[in-house]
Amino acid sequence: MENLLQVLYAFISTSVFAIFLGAGLAVASRKLKVKSDEKVETLISVLPGLNCGVCSYSSCESYARAMASKTETDVSRCSPGGYDTQNALAKLLDVENGENSSRMIARLACLGDNKAAKREFTYLGYPDCESAHIQFHGDKGCKYGCLGLGSCVKSCPVDAIRYTGTGLVKVNPELCIGCEICVAVCPTGVMVMIPKDAKWFVACKSKDSPKLTKNLCRTGCIGCRICERKFLNSGFVVSDNLSMLSYNDADEEDQRAASAACPPKCIINL
């Protein structure tokens, strides 16, 4: 009987203590409430919440705060959100919405895998592009290509980049948020940003002379100008021994034909 009473006392004393603390919390939550800015809250709810830093702010919240306090007037800074976010932000802030820019995603401008590209030596150091780049700008003969050691894979915040197993990496366009971190960390600069809806793409960055490029890589752009001269409406422009596609004015049929005619087959369909 005595034991049972002890249990009862313990139960009652703990309950009283708990009620007392609960009441304290209830009062505190009213009295010490931090006033949250509703405007900021709504802006945050529109933003994707990845805290990727593309907008040049450290987090989505700080971007939202800057917009709410009118220090930032550009609503198109959020690339992962795309134009949905841009429109929503413009509506909420009641500002002029600029051109709806097409969403940009990263692509690897290199097809020189282990089979296609020549290697000058075997790299044995820490498996990271940055370390490999210190040594003669990488083990590939071509100094513009992908080193395949995955600086971008490690730094991608959404795991959109994967190793292919053939000495290259591949960007998954569905997952890519266009944060450009891979573009920043790639030591050879082989990652490029292109519109997400682009159909064709020159997968090479080599500005070496045609002869050298041909020696070093089977799939390197040799600047032969076939795409530019034969298919005038295709939008390909060759400069510095490298073909570039301008995505604004393009005739798709011409691009398809140019791709088929490209001798090293470095114009690819996405």
């Binding site: 040049s56 044995l124 990271d128 940055e130 370390s131 040594q135 003669f136 920043a184």
Partner: protein, 443 residues
Amino acid sequence: MSRYQTFSRGGIRPPDAKYSTSKIGIKTCPLPDVAIVPFLQHIGTQARPTVKLNDRVNEGQLIGEPSSLISAAIHSPVAGIVSEFRSIFLPMGIKTDAAVIKRDRNIHSPIKHEENHDWQSLEIEELLEILKWKGVVGQGGATFPSHIKFSIPKGHDCEVFLINACECEPYLSADHRLILESTEQIMEGIKIVQKLLNPKRVVIGIEANKQDAIEMLTAAGTAREVEVVHLKAKYPQGAEKNLIEAILGYEVPSGKLPLEVGVINSNVGTLFSVYEALVRNKPVVERVLTVAGGAIAHPANVRARVGSPVSSLIEECDGFREEPVKLVMGGPMMGFAFNNLDTPVIKGTSGILALTGNEVNTSATTPCISCGRCVGVCPMGLSPTTIFKQIEHERFDEATKYGLEDCVLCGACSYVCPAHIPLVSAFRAGRGRKRRLAARRKK
């Protein structure tokens, strides 16, 4: 305690491997038929070429002038014709323009350097100007232009001039041989720098494994009030911050230069070129370097022209005994691997090593077992394993907090790592990535 001093934290004792070259006199290499002279052989900006294609150049003629405040002059090592300008990679990861100079065999007599200049009557500014136009740079490996190093900024005083004769890297014995064969010249070089810096003390730090050199220096130094401090052989004694701690007992603050504590260091090789520039009126067109490693038939120290292809030096040492697994420019701990035998010797090349399979670590990397050996050997008192793990997980701000920027890249941690993790290589990657991300944020 014994009279041998050393630095307090960490350090390793790799096998010396100097015996094969330290007992043999310095050989002089024949002039190269084709010299490839890079315009960037120093820290700073690339020298501006002063010659054009197909120009005829003399031995020791200026072919590149300093292009900015931190830059150095470049001279032609041979008499001949500038046949090509090309862009080359140096093993230390630098891409630079280089002049290819074809030697003219008809000019046999090199310019005589028998002159003995009276440097004592010159003002300090004049001396520095000569150093600048003779292209003198630090020859310990960092290749910092000497005319800047030896001019003290206002508000600073040079208390101690510290001379590094440690040569703590295995295999290398070029500085050792240079001390033995040119003691007087080095002492004269010290005298010149003494005039430039006006230090209260001049101290030479030398490791105990070079007894003959210690004797020579002590004999020559006592009369000139140059102290010679014996140090216990330990790697990396020659790193400037460690050397200061080993000899003077105080530490250089993180991220600061030795001048902050009133010290200026210099390598003995640099002093020799200071002597050559000011007394002999000779630009830096040659240097002494070690050609060694298990794959070299007869390892030796050679005096070679800047711009000589590595293959010519190896030929001078009777070629390869066996096929090398790895070629290294510099010492085995901090040197850089390279694969092209046409790579030229530059002002900062302290050695060429051709290593065999036995001498190279080719074991596969295994996961870190957190044994802490790297922490024990780090001369800067860092925790390499912690920094490595932060880098592996792309946390560069944290890695910086743990001292990523304080690392001197000596390689002691990689040397002892039982998991064969290329830690130094990873730290370089971390620093590079951090810089790229910071640049992106700024944009």
